[in-house]
Symmetry: C2
Subunit: 327 residues, 2 copies
Amino acid sequence: MATVAVDAMGGDNAPMEIVHGGIDAAANGHEVVFVGDEAQLAPILEAAGVGIPVVHASEAIGMSDDPALAIREKRDASISVAARLVKTGDADAVVSAGSTGAALTAAVFTLGRLKGVSRPAIASYFPSGSVVLDMGANLSCRARDLAQFAVMGAALARTHDGLDRVTVGLLNIGSEPGKGRVLEREAHDLMGALPGIDFIGNVEGTDLAQAKANVIVCDGYTGNIMLKTAEGTARLVFNLFLEAVAVPDYTEAVQTLAPALMQLRERLNPERAGGAHLLGVKGVVVVTHGSSTRLSISTAVATAADAVAGGLPDLIAAGLAESAGVL
Amino acid sequence: MATVAVDAMGGDNAPMEIVHGGIDAAANGHEVVFVGDEAQLAPILEAAGVGIPVVHASEAIGMSDDPALAIREKRDASISVAARLVKTGDADAVVSAGSTGAALTAAVFTLGRLKGVSRPAIASYFPSGSVVLDMGANLSCRARDLAQFAVMGAALARTHDGLDRVTVGLLNIGSEPGKGRVLEREAHDLMGALPGIDFIGNVEGTDLAQAKANVIVCDGYTGNIMLKTAEGTARLVFNLFLEAVAVPDYTEAVQTLAPALMQLRERLNPERAGGAHLLGVKGVVVVTHGSSTRLSISTAVATAADAVAGGLPDLIAAGLAESAGVL
């Protein structure tokens, strides 16, 4: 069974919520090891009455630290120690709610890139069911990077969704070929030539409503804007709904619908998504929101364990090898 | 009173819906002139029993035509004739549901750019109340362009929302200064130096939920992706809600809430937004969705008339003149 190293010091709610998320995951049958300050973690575990191993790390990286600098200077940072556990084979995956930049740097620095990967990318699931990458690891990209993202995202869709035939779309401002910037026009040509994926051409933001493609590829600046726009819009629609029904005539009907509304809110909850994958490194690394609660951590551990079981890094390497002629 | 030239041949539902939208606007007290094929328009107006003037245009530009080429070759295209009416002073504004690219080209070609404008931009209102630009006129931008967009968007917020003090945000992947690509980092510095606007720094997609800034500035590729992502997400949330309540236990409550749900859908309806402004040209030009119905056309006519009454082009020119030292 996969052992998941949980960075207990990362995120706004560390270590308490993180440890409880890991405890939940262990209770669900996952193998967990915590990485962090033993003096802080031991009392939490003791109070919870569980015996989950802790690997001590004397340092932690904050959200405001410069990722590259912090990884270099804090050799004993929890995220780096967690990555080293995967490197040495003592763990199979890393889960962190800490700085995404630090996790990415630690992963590239400690685990290294898979053969053929020029730029690792961050892949997230949207509520509609599409996986979108890059979500912000690479703000500016070349067409070749986008084509690599297509291959990496397809490998994730294979392991995560059990898909055999994966459809991939290129995010663009129109559906017709020839739309977009030079980047999109070049990427369109490259992606059309990739073996092993089913390239469906350009997709638009409006297509997020119905998961037109299993995988949607874009540069990291655009992906990050898109993810946050979707979050902001979902919240806006909810707020406007609550505003529209905030009259006495509707009180009873709203109470009746409360379970369905809770279910909907839950479905749209980014915490439920199970975190984002860092793809392209030699190992499974899942990062979650800085504001992660125990639910997001336990979901992320399950996500990471699934990816290990599905052999995600090997699948990515195989996909890139198969596409070497195009990339 | 402002005379609005309505391009009767533009959009998927032309001329029927467009003409009826113009008739509605006229019934609401606006001065309208239709531009298009007299042979097609006269029977519609006759059937409606209204006497609204028509200026004949023998050609029309389709959605799939290359905008620049079509404007050059079809000298008598309805959108070009409409722009010439503004140029000659026979009309004060143009409304079109046709190709946005063609409207933009016609506006720049016929009306010309305002002094100091390097790139006209498309500005749209989001349901939260922020105006966002550019929405796709300029896929790749320089920092100076974004700073100009800030000035132009602020002028629109002044006329459209009657604001005196306008807050402007720069769309970015994080709220801290120094975030983003070179483009955003440079634009951040320039925008901070602009006189006459209240620059609040970086804003994120999540901020769309509460209109953190009156004006949000971004490059046209990003703006277009963001607009469509918001549309797609709103539709997704609606669909998921309908799915969640599609059980007999909820039928009655949903029926009770129907008026509130219709009101919410209406509020999120892009048709309601009144169209997008082409800013930076010597005149008022409002474009609407290709799928515009009579409602969006009548709203757009009102929007255009408001902008004329508020002296939008003059306000933009004054803002740019005031900012000349920075831009």
